[in-house]
Amino acid sequence: MMSAADLMSAALGVAFLSLAVAQLMCMIRLVLGPNTGDRILALDTMVINALGLVIVLGIHQGVRIYFEVSLLIAMLGFVSTVALARFILRGDIIE
């Protein structure tokens, strides 16, 4: 059984790598996606993945200030998804 610190750094490496690979796969769907809904979904998923990357970076560096960054990214990502969808549905974001 590996020691706790070794397991921790291995887990951090695996987390970084899988989130980066997930981000690249989202970009593939962003280019491929035949409809607009697929592209909006790919952009929203990329924002959530970026949020995950910031959280794992905060664990790795032991810094506490990344929490505010992640809260802002989450809020702005949601608002931008809703704005894109409303633009397609109605042609107008705020009536």
Partner: protein
């Protein structure tokens, strides 16, 4: 087994689970071939993956001596807003006719996204100013 070692193992476990779920969610996004089925995977499995990563961050802060609970805020925010964005993207798919037509509702006329705007007298028709 001191509490610190248990906490470190728990953090590593949550990290692996969270990143695994995020990867599976995006795999579903790439794999399916219909617009509406592609919607299910990243919005839900991805949200739980990020929830597990936030749990890892909380337990790690307990281990390193400065306990913090504010990751619960991000978790609550994501659980409330992920269904809303999924609903909007489903409406975009319905509006652009990118999926099979759904069956009609039993009591009313039609679904709100598919309802065309009634001509209330002030929407000009196409060939007036020729």
């Amino acid at each position: 087994m001191s509490l610190e070692i248990i906490g470190t193992y728990a953090t590593a476990l949550f990290l692996l689970i969270g990143s695994g779920f995020a990867l599976v969610g995006v795999l579903g996004l790439l794999k399916f071939n219909d617009s509406m089925t592609r919607l299910h995977a990243p919005t839900k499995v991805g949200t739980v993956g990020i929830g597990a990563l936030l749990l890892a961050s909380m337990t790690y802060s307990y281990v390193s001596g400065a306990p913090s609970m504010h990751e619960l805020l991000i978790m609550a925010f994501l659980f409330v807003t992920a269904p809303i964005s999924a609903n909007f993207i489903a409406k975009v798919n319905l509006h652009q006719r990118a999926c099979d037509t759904p069956p009609a509702p039993p009591r009313d006329d039609t679904w709100s996204t598919l309802k065309s705007p009634e001509a209330e007298g002030d929407i000009p028709s196409g060939n007036e100013g020729s």
